[in-house]
Subunit: 443 residues, 2 copies
């Protein structure tokens, strides 16, 4: 009998739980789902005979450790900042640990301990990070093995709407954490292009776009995301001339979103403390210069002359120019904007989300140059069974299943860049419909 403990039964855990339950009886496994809400944990288990829902309060260390102690393996679906706590418990109690979050510095400090106890701690095994690493490393390692040289690697991912649900002027709704969407791109994006190191500050990011096209679902725009330079080492591409990882939005989104960026409305660095009667229009106006006679629309046009009617229409559609009071008046500009957008970019019942991912590689072969374009399109079933939950949860579920089956035997602290980890996971993912379509073109 094997016991899997899943911590956190949020939206992205449905596929993960379903996948593991499906073979639980045959494989003689118990699935314990622990959440702050026992009800939510219970719903996800759908009265399955191998499942057990429990309430957990993470602050109670003794209770937490008792729950972890009864399991063989822990999957953490908790917010990333909680992972070091859980990982420390797992190390102490000798339990394997799996997550879809970035490997943190705190996690790295446990490396020796993890190895000494012969455990596997596998992080970054969801969508992004996760599926991006696995699918990229498969191409990279296969090409290297064939004696080819990769001189350019670009990879873009987006968590967006299925085309049939793009029924507002922005062609966008929140399909995952709204706060992350509002703050997306903050900091300085770093990458290398044709041998030149490149740095883009946040306020320039939404102007420096690349067109990325999918046969099935059309055109998107991609912008570089955070520190791509560190992936030279992670992906074993130390001498590569071009390496860029980025985020996708539907074409036309970025130039309109850039209005908020330029005005400072996505700023999360200070609290506004506005009067409770402050309107949307006053809020928007507070980021524009004062003028004795010009109205808000005229001042906006003066300040950002590149704004056209389409962009203006999108801003207006969000209610930014209205005299209605704000839904929230304390908090950062970003937090107030998020509250406004949450209402406008809410998913309708029948809406479906979509994950798009594309790798573009430039490769030198003995026969000449070639370009490889590898694309993934994954659409959600409905608001519960989303593409996001699927692409985050299934890689993790499959990794755990393969591990318990003895098909992943590596131990230590890892992200899924080793063939022995990603090969069987990608193979199993294909059977669930998560499959990349590859196009090769001689250049």
């Amino acid at each position: 009998m094997q016991t899997i403990l899943i911590l956190g039964a949020g939206k992205s855990s449905v596929y993960l739980i379903d996948y593991l339950l499906e073979t639980a009886v045959a494989k003689n496994r118990n699935i314990i789902v622990a959440d702050v809400s026992e009800e939510i944990a219970s719903q996800k288990l759908k009265n399955h005979q191998s499942g057990k829902a429990i309430k957990i309060n993470l602050d109670e260390a003794e209770n937490r450790k008792a729950i972890i102690g009864e399991s063989d393996l822990v999957i953490s679906m908790l917010p990333a900042f909680l992972h070091p706590i859980i990982a420390k418990d797992c190390l102490e109690l000798g339990k394997h640990f799996f997550s879809a979050s970035y490997e943190s510095e705190e996690m790295r400090q446990m490396k020796n301990g993890i190895e000494a106890k012969n455990l596997l701690f596998l992080n970054e095994c969801g969508l992004d990070p996760g599926l991006d690493h696995m699918s990229a490393m498969k191409i990279i390692n296969d090409e290297k093995k064939a004696g080819n040289r990769i001189f350019s690697f670009k990879s873009y991912t987006g968590g967006l709407l299925a085309p049939e649900s793009e029924n507002n002027p922005w062609k966008y709704k929140f399909t995952w954490n709204p706060r992350n969407v509002v703050l997306a791109g903050q900091g300085t994006s770093r990458f290398i292009q044709n041998g030149e190191l490149k740095y883009i500050p946040y306020h320039m990011l939404y102007k420096r776009l690349e067109n990325i096209s999918f046969d099935e679902v059309g055109d998107f725009e991609g912008y570089p995301n955070r520190d791509s330079l560190s992936y030279r080492k992670i992906y074993g591409l130390d001498d590569i001339s071009t390496l860029l990882r980025g985020t996708l939005r539907r074409t036309g989104f970025c130039e309109s979103w850039d209005v908020f960026v330029q005005l400072g409305i996505t700023d999360d660095s200070f609290k506004m403390e506005l009067p409770s009667w402050f309107s949307h229009r006053m809020f928007f106006n507070s980021f524009l210069p004062y003028h004795e006679t010009k109205n808000l629309e005229e001042k906006l046009q003066d300040l950002l002359p590149w704004i056209n009617d389409e962009i203006l229409g999108k801003i207006e559609w969000l209610g930014m120019f209205s005299n209605e009071p704000l839904p929230k008046t304390d908090g950062s500009p970003a937090a107030i904007l998020e509250e406004i957008l949450k209402e406008k970019w809410k998913l309708d019942f029948q809406d479906r989300d979509m994950i798009v991912m594309q790798h573009l590689l430039g490769i030198e072969t003995p026969k000449g140059m070639k370009e490889v374009v590898s694309s993934l399109v994954c659409k959600g079933e409905n608001q519960e069974y989303t593409a996001m939950a699927k692409t985050v949860g299934l890689p993790l579920a499959i990794a755990v299943d393969l591990f318990l089956d003895g098909k992943i035997i590596v131990r230590g602290l890892h992200v899924p860049v080793l063939p022995e980890i990603y090969e069987p996971i990608l193979e199993a993912l294909e059977k669930t419909g998560i499959e990349f379509e590859e196009k090769i073109r001689a250049v």
Copy 2:
């Protein structure tokens, strides 16, 4: 016998020390100057019979407290982050404390203790903060006393070059901490204008300027600085329609500096770790988009089309387009830029600095509206006796002198916004040549 302890004998302490030494014999005072370098402390005292130079290591608490314990009063000229440590010692040992730095939250937590021991802790008693508060509060309180209503208050300060030393294309050299100049304006500037709250993000700041003119030294441009809104409470102007505090630069500086801001070269949020052979030109190019055929100058023009030949000339004058290796390759973009600028914006031996400050008030009187413009221009003598050292050091020296003479009797935690503090200080400052010129105009 009274003993004054001055902690820190850096550049800005010369006027402070000289002023206190001048009357030390007559007033029966000892001046102890403690610095990490006994030599530097000693130089500043010029063998004066009432002065004593000592070496201090602030990490050695016992020694530090012994030195503080022997004094009646401590003036801290140390970096601001050290003030809580010194202030805590002073509170424990029952010593008065004076500084030219902002009153910190940690300082505020000592308020009750300071009062209980009947001590005076006076912060923000230098130039900015300091002289700005005092000169502003004198006008504000005098107008209020006369039954007038202040509806607008704007105040700008700049630490710049005397016009005769403006002999480079930027008309600027570092006359104080270069790092603070490179990072100036970061964060979000907040103020109120004609009843409208206004927020300006950093990347918009150097475009939203006001012309500020001085009869004696010409035109400058001012931009809003940090959180002016908090001064409504500090200055007792809660219902004011316009309140803005800002920074002055010589006209033409900001649009050129904005090139660095727009490109992200003033970014201090990450380390670059560039190859050691990286040139100025490569550094600058790393903030521009890649292009197959266009050169750096063409790409810059494409990205920032408002750049004219004059601006381009200024950037070029700094060596930004040269193939010379960088003076520093590790550190943030801001740190690397600072290192480049330090060489180019170095003061020559004969250069003189200059402090400019201007308050502009809109006032409603029973006889109608009037405008008050109060201006200070203070030029340095030479590279040692700078305007910066004078305007930071003399307010502090005078405050201490008046306090020890029993002419400031208030106790507790204060900044100089009370008439009983600022009135005698401003009066004494006038005798040293630090004097505001006031113009009143009916509107």
